[in-house]
């Protein structure tokens, strides 16, 4: 047992050292140039916008405390959220009102990512935002001061479709406010995906399902036509009546001398033949349409 624990520990340490070896590839962007108004940038493209280490929000008498958080972003963090492609390693952070928050943002991917907060007071933060950006693997750090009110702030990466595909989180100050929608693993989406049934998604099942659906559709149509649509004495019924009245004497010639039973039998025979023909035609039509709809995808 002890042996097992020791070997597990060794294996575990190997993993940690491997992870650290990977981490060591991360470029630390710690000498950003100040471009005024809290805008810091270096030639590697790492930047912090609206850095604020001193200006107190009006609602705060003093900074309640200094808090540091480390945030990772990357493709690999999306593993625990099926249906996303990028994610932060955490989706929620809780801080006290008036906290001076320093964020160490580590991007593990080889592309750009951002850690951006919205809804801050605009008299301190231009456009009400605090924004960090770095091309990975890389690390950038920035600081800002949160106001006193209980509020939940949106945190995201604003590159095209990154927030939508998972890079979204919430920063909860005090008791927090209205939650941010569609944060992976935390809150519901306002417009969630509609997932087709397995049968819809997999071609092998399509024919069977379509046949079922067709049968259901035919049954519904039959039920509906049985119910009829509106008044019994419709225009077409009247036309039928007239045609019937006119046709019968002509048919009378044909069936002259025959008993009514024979006549009725003959006519119903004709009608049965005609309807059989009709059914055959509609069957071929339906099968053609079904074939067209269910045409298997080209390889």
């Amino acid at each position: 047992m002890t042996k097992f624990l020791i070997s597990a520990l060794i294996i575990g340490m190997c993993y940690i050292s491997a992870a650290q070896a990977k981490k060591s590839e991360i470029v630390v962007h710690d000498s950003l140039m100040e471009h005024g108004d809290g805008h810091l940038m270096d030639m590697g493209g790492a930047m912090v916008m609206n850095q604020n280490t001193e200006k107190l929000p009006e609602s705060c008498k003093k900074v309640s405390g200094d808090v540091e958080i480390t945030v990772h972003a990357g493709h690999k963090y999306s593993k625990k959220f099926p249906g996303t492609v990028f994610a932060f390693d955490k989706q929620e952070w809780h801080v006290k009102p008036c906290t001076r928050l320093t964020v160490h943002f580590i991007n593990d991917d080889h592309i750009r990512h951002q850690w951006m907060v919205h809804g801050l007071p605009k008299y301190i933060y231009k456009s009400g935002m605090f924004h960090m950006e770095v091309t990975g693997p890389g690390k950038v750090s920035g600081t800002f001061i949160l106001p006193a009110n209980d509020q939940t702030y949106l945190v995201h990466c604003d590159m095209a479709q990154h927030m939508e595909k998972g890079l979204k989180a919430q920063l909860i100050v005090g008791k927090g406010g209205l939650p941010i929608p569609s944060v992976p693993g935390a809150t519901a989406a306002l417009f969630p995906d509609t997932y087709p049934s397995q049968e819809e998604m997999y071609p092998k099942e399509v024919a069977a399902i379509a046949a079922k659906a067709n049968a259901a559709a035919i049954a519904t149509a039959k039920a509906k036509s049985a119910r009829g649509s509106g008044s019994f004495f419709s225009g077409t019924l009247l036309i039928g009546l007239v045609v019937g009245l006119l046709l019968t004497p002509i048919m009378g010639q044909r069936y002259k001398g025959q008993t009514p039973t024979q006549v009725v039998a003959d006519i119903s025979g004709l009608l049965v033949a005609a309807s059989k023909q009709l059914i055959a035609i509609s069957k071929t039509l339906v099968s053609k349409v079904v074939a067209l709809v269910n045409k298997p995808p080209a390889l």
């Binding site: 592309i111 009400g128 095209a160 989406a189 995906d193 039928g240």
Partner: protein, 580 residues
């Protein structure tokens, strides 16, 4: 019996006529109504007149751009000099990252940098949002028309939208994928940073490139033969040193049939090597090249990149239907069948008419020579026709044709992925040009002049002579009022195309009878009642027919039937008594 039948027929005919005449009292149709156009946008949405002027920034000469929406001069200077060789002030005036275009090392000692490293990202336009009903980042190709698209874009910084409050894409994120320009024998590194959620690659179509790069990695962009996919969050560097100049192509080679259709295709121009020849490495949005190469300026007054593209609405819609990448991949790779597709959107430089008037006009003066580099980035044959001009095709797929083979004509056939270099000569000699004016140029495969079937739209643009342009760079057009097209209602199909052509609107909208709109408003039931009606119609006819036959039989054999009934009644009453 015959007389009886005749009288029945006569009564029916007369009563039928009477009923009909009651229903259609007189020949009177519903009146015309005016359809509100809705909110119009300004025809020209750029008000920075300074950008239109010829100027020099960071020592880079930038040509005047007379069109309404010119390229930002600071951007042009940044991509000519390299984002590593300009002042921070100029760089901050663009949205480029400092490593977007890195230029260094004058390898051949002729006064210009020959080692070029560019960074491309992959951007989705008009995609899905789980947070609101709309698309983001929004890039309309025409008023209110926002098909889902994927494009390559120069590496940029900051938000993908204009601001947090806006859902409009920032100016660097747009169709088409930007034209890349380098010099012959430059060492070009294209760093593909896959910022998108699908796998992609880059294939350098027609450009001189080795199959394997210096590091032994695949360099042809084909996931089946040369390399694996570039996955989200990863990068790959493509290395080339092209020995041949010309107009070429680059495009994604993953699921090429759909990824190219989505917009992952652009032009790659290799300019002839000349001394002190720094070229404009990115032309975002195509159109006028504001800093042409030395070789082009020797023979031409100006230069335009004309990138044509076609898109299927059903394909683009896939990324607006789902958010989950598995659903998007399934829908695009397994469900969508391109062999059943029709192209609905036809763009020139990423937009359709009337937006082409803002961005993709060819601005001309008499007695000029203008170089046009034309590419078909779609999958349909095109036949581009220039009004008022016959241009000369000088190059096919980037390679110069012998003088005898350089054809002067007015329709230019161009197959998918092909390029034509055209010389547009504006000499009024009855052959090359018929004088100044606003001469449109467009696809003569007529589908190309529509946007989802609505005309005017599609890839129509204008060769506009300066004398026919306003200060703002808009055409002094003499035809119909174009401002009505700068409203979402036109391509939403709610404006009658011939509205207001005469005083009483002969071709206007018909005022609908009051009950029709109620029916058409219920979307779900729109088709259902029709089907019901058809079954009802047939059933009623049959029932009527049977009733008619029954009535006739009943009437004709009434005596026999009565007798039979009486007999039956008698039998019934005498049941158990008589055994006859």
């Amino acid at each position: 019996m015959n007389i009886r039948v005749q009288s029945v027929i006569r009564t029916l005919v007369v009563s039928g006529f009477f009923v009909c005449s009651l229903v259609q009292a007189k020949y009177e149709n519903p009146p015309s109504v005016k359809v509100p156009i809705g909110k119009k946008e300004p025809v020209c949405n750029t008000d920075d007149a300074e950008w239109r002027k010829a100027q020099t920034i960071e020592g880079v000469k930038i040509q005047a751009s007379k069109r309404c929406s010119p390229d930002r001069p600071a951007f042009v200077a940044s991509v000519v000099k390299g984002t590593n060789n300009i002042s921070m002030e100029t760089l901050m005036d663009t949205r480029l990252t400092p490593d977007a275009v890195i230029k260094s090392d004058d390898l051949d000692g002729d006064g210009d940098p020959d080692r070029i490293e560019i960074h491309l990202e992959v951007t989705e336009l008009n995609g899905f949002s789980p947070d609101f009903e709309g698309v983001v980042p929004r890039f309309p190709i025409a008023p209110g028309v926002t098909p889902g698209m994927w494009v390559f874009s120069p590496k940029s910084r900051g938000m993908s939208t204009m601001s947090f409050a806006s859902i409009e894409a920032n100016p660097l994120l747009r169709a088409p994928s930007p034209t890349i320009r380098i010099e012959q024998d430059d060492v070009l590194w294209i760093v593909l940073e896959n910022t998108h959620y699908m796998p992609h690659t880059i294939h350098l179509h027609g450009v001189d490139h080795p199959f394997i790069d210096s590091g032994g990695e695949g360099n042809d962009g084909v996931p089946q033969t040369s390399e694996l996919f570039v996955l989200p969050g990863e990068t790959r560097t493509y290395e080339i040193k092209p020995r041949v100049a010309g107009t070429f192509v680059y495009h994604c080679h993953v699921q090429t049939h759909t990824h190219v259709g989505m917009g992952l295709i652009g032009m790659l121009v290799v300019e002839e090597n000349r001394p002190n020849n720094s070229v404009q490495t990115f032309n975002v949005g195509g159109g006028q090249v504001r800093h042409s190469s030395k070789a082009v300026l020797k023979d031409y007054d100006s230069e335009y990149d004309l990138i044509y593209h076609q898109m299927d609405k059903e394909l683009g819609n896939i990324i607006q239907k789902h958010n989950d990448p598995r659903l998007i991949a399934w829908d695009m790779n397994q469900r969508y069948d391109m062999t059943d597709a029709t192209e609905d959107y036809h763009t020139l430089n990423g937009r359709s008419f009337p937006y082409t008037v803002r961005e993709s006009m060819i601005v001309a003066k008499p007695d000029q020579k203008i170089k046009l580099r034309m590419m078909n980035g779609g999958s349909e044959l095109m036949a581009i026709h220039t009004h008022g001009h016959k241009a000369t095709i000088t190059h096919y797929d980037g390679i110069e044709a012998k003088p005898d083979a350089q054809i002067t004509r007015d329709v230019y056939n161009i197959a998918p992925a092909q390029r034509l270099d055209l010389e547009l000569n504006t000499t009024d000699d009855g052959l090359h040009n018929y004088g100044e004016g606003l001469w449109i140029f467009h696809d003569h495969a007529e589908r190309g002049i529509t946007t989802d079937g609505m005309n005017p739209g599609g890839n129509v643009s204008v060769v506009a002579y300066e004398s026919w342009l306003t200060e703002e760079g808009l055409p002094k057009a003499q035809g119909r009022d174009l401002t009505t097209m700068f409203a979402d209602s036109f391509f939403a199909r709610s404006q009658p195309v011939f509205a207001g052509l005469d005083e009483w609107d002969t071709w206007g909208a018909v005022q609908a009878p009051p009950e029709i709109p109620k029916q058409s408003n219920t979307l779900a039931g729109a088709n259902q009642p029709q089907v019901n009606n058809q079954t009802g119609w047939l059933a009623n006819l049959l029932i009527g027919l049977l009733l008619g036959v029954a009535l006739y039989i009943l009437f004709t054999y009434r005596e026999k039937i009565f007798a039979a009934l009486k007999g039956l009644a008698g039998n019934k009453s005498g049941e158990g008594v008589s055994n006859d």
